[in-house]
Symmetry: C2
Subunit: 459 residues, 2 copies
């Protein structure tokens, strides 16, 4: 099955370290991803945050944690076990076995995920096309691993993009071709240009990754007409779309997708099965359950006249990566869904109110403090966790260290979302975890930093 490519000379992989007879590995002999900037970003940012525990953090993209209570874990588990007994007719022994033993690779809550998608997103899918994963991150890797067959394959993705996408692509040896991002999300004209350039260069474009709602890191969203045009491009150019929807529920309009609220997801509009949907329960469920999923209802022809679902191929890869997602963790998410009529919109009303309040307070606070500052600007997202500031000075990790150490405030330098090749005049503020007093104090500190830098620039 596997062939030897790029045969290298036989090499010693372990060099003796000077101080002992114990072996030392040389990182240059390890997988190329381990030298990539994107793989270091998270560690580096966490390290700085860890050194300044008193700093107010606009850096963390975590969900609001003010309502967490360990009793909920027990309640959710009980709710799921009750469902197994009542709705699925299991004996106590079968319930125990379902939670304790190895389980179906695709997961034990695929039915509940399908109901959730119908209730919250108007997406109708067969549970058989759902693969429950260890967070959305594993779903990304499964899809990229499946799609990367040879060295000419490439993925399109907006630039800047979520670091986790860059990392998963590195692990799958799949190069990412960046597509420009505008105020309305991914730039569709540039997408077509980049796609054709890649093809002219002999690449096979497998798919385009996109987050239509409140994309990390920009916080921008696509409107309905852009979504329809993107789907048309996918059909015309014969590519898949990988839709990441981690933040869609946290919007500043009426509940539910549609005319009056946010636009429907790509998957809800997908008539041609061009969209693989990447779902996350990290923000809407419980991050600590590490449960996400992929919806992959594309047919796959096996070359022998038969066919199955793309979900089945992802499931095969998953069986060799994590075997199955912890049924106990799935039960926690399943129980939360069951306790809320399968609606995460309903489950997250208190959190959504907080995110709206925080976003408004941050945007108003920026206007009040920096509305008159020359060359300082920011976007105005209608939901999600993120706002991006543009400033007339360099924003790098040194500035972050100074912000943390001298001013007591943390943010995320945007260059981390550009693979450290651009974005050096932007910073991302996350609004999700803070209380009102922290936001005011944090914005004061950030303003002090920015004011000092502006004075330096003016000098």
């Amino acid at each position: 099955m596997l062939e030897f490519m790029d045969v290298m000379p036989s090499e010693v992989i372990l060099a003796e370290s000077p101080e002992s007879d114990r072996a030392t590995l040389d990182r240059a002999t390890l997988h190329a991803s381990l030298g990539a900037a994107a793989m270091e970003s998270m560690n580096l940012l966490n390290e700085i945050a860890g050194q300044y525990p008193e700093a107010i953090s606009f850096a963390a993209g975590r969900p609001y944690e003010g309502f967490y209570d360990v009793a909920q874990v027990h309640e959710y588990l009980r709710a799921f076990c009750a469902y197994l007994r009542v709705e699925r007719g299991m004996t106590d022994r079968q319930v125990a076995r379902t939670l304790f033993q190895y389980g179906d690779t695709k997961g034990i809550i695929t039915e509940l995920v399908a109901r959730n998608l119908a209730v919250d997103e108007g997406i109708e899918v067969d549970p058989g096309s759902v693969v429950v994963t260890v967070g959305c991150q594993e779903a990304m890797f499964l899809v990229l691993r499946a799609l990367r067959a040879g060295g000419g394959d490439v993925l399109l993705a907006p630039r800047p993009t979520y670091v986790g996408l860059t990392g998963a692509a590195l692990l799958a040896d799949l190069p990412v071709v960046g597509v420009a991002t505008g105020p309305g999300g991914i730039d569709l004209d540039d997408l077509v240009v980049e796609l054709r350039l890649a093809r002219e260069a002999g690449r096979r474009v497998r798919a385009c990754y996109v987050t239509p709602d409140f994309a990390n890191p920009m916080g921008v969203s696509m409107d309905l007409s852009a979504r329809r045009r993107l789907l048309d491009i996918a059909v015309a150019e014969n590519i898949l779309l990988l839709e990441d929807n981690a933040y869609g529920l946290f919007h500043d309009g009426p509940e539910g997708p549609g005319e009056t609220g946010r636009p429907p997801t790509l998957k809800a509009l997908d008539r041609d099965k061009r969209v693989v949907y990447l779902g996350s329960f990290a923000k809407t469920g419980v991050p600590g359950a590490r449960v996400g999923f992929a919806v992959a209802d594309q047919r796959v022809a096996d070359g022998a006249g038969g066919s199955g679902l793309f979900a089945d191929e992802l499931s095969k890869i998953k069986s060799m990566l994590t075997v199955n997602t912890s049924p106990i963790a799935q039960a926690v998410i399943g129980g939360k869904l069951l306790s809320n009529d399968c609606s995460m919109v309903a489950a997250n009303r208190p959190e959504t109110a907080i995110y709206r309040r925080n976003m408004r307070q941050v945007l108003d606070g920026l206007t009040k403090r920096l509305g008159d500052a020359a060359d300082v600007s920011w976007n105005v997202p209608t939901g999600g966790f993120f706002v991006v500031l543009t400033v007339p000075f360099t924003v790098d990790d040194d500035l972050l260290e100074q912000a943390a150490g001298r001013f007591g405030v943390l943010f995320t330098p945007m260059h981390h979302f550009f693979g450290t090749t651009a974005g050096f005049r932007q910073l991302r503020l996350s609004i999700s975890t803070l209380e009102p007093a922290q936001i005011d104090e944090g914005l004061d500190r950030l303003t002090a930093l920015i004011t000092e830098r502006l004075a330096d620039v003016a000098r």
Copy 2:
């Protein structure tokens, strides 16, 4: 970082299916692993098992489930939360955050894992060299992904070998060179031969995977002198050893490794940090928690004069694969450890007694029924879950279907552990999940099948 290799012509990846305008993917355009026999094995075996629910199964490698009770999950979670409060001084809010939020990529139970290794295996490791993973399967993939830098890299592994190892290697595009297995486990003379042949062919041998205790599928173990010689070979030939120890605790001797019980693990004997230890709590903890770990205390030089641990490199890969192992799932395993003085030997006394009883009953039952049968033989493991029978007729999936349908008994054809290139006269019996009456009835059914086949052969 990534280079384009094997540039392919631009290709259409989606062919229109005949019956509709919906797209169909062609499996030939997907990653090569998806065409490999090893990736199908589990599905195929599960499918046959699913069709014959009344059959007595010697196929399932699952742990014994007779003691499972959902109340244990709640108890383990409470025990772990009490430990966070008392031993680690956390407030209720911090406890909730630890379980609910994103956590340290390396895990929240690395201390407990280190204690467990000291108590049960006499292995002394720093918690910083432990990476908690989504089962041992993820640990395998992390290590193989890290070690596979180029197309010339290869891994050595015993033949036959655990299907999960083959699968993880396929996902990492890492070819596996098979090493013969004898009654004392991996054949060390053949190992040296294969290693040198691979190097002469221009391959870079990264490591050798090995399960010294009751290896799946053969059930064979290495004695102390073989373990010492394997470590010497690793030093002399400058390779890493990947030690899988999923079954070591289930042995038929005094408790604990040492002179009187089973021999120590390779990691306990490892003076030169040649061993990456792959741990599993699936058999000793709760399979449904999906918690395993890697111990990777090798130093890695970064080329700039600095160095870190191999565990840190694995952690970076993990951050882009699954972010972190579910803290809730880790808490379940942590709680089980805390409830048993960090000893899984102690926690598994009832199960170990059952495995011993079952192994004895199967071996005695085979002797009674087939002791005089010409050309039928089996090995006599001193622990673990597996016994392998050798017969003078073909053992393939057709035979398994007949065994299931006509005789009501299931086993695992050994060819699945040889990548369907050998092993067609062997079958694996797993003894872990059965009750005594099922074993007797199952062996009667198996004997009826074998007797019929022997008569066919004699004709």
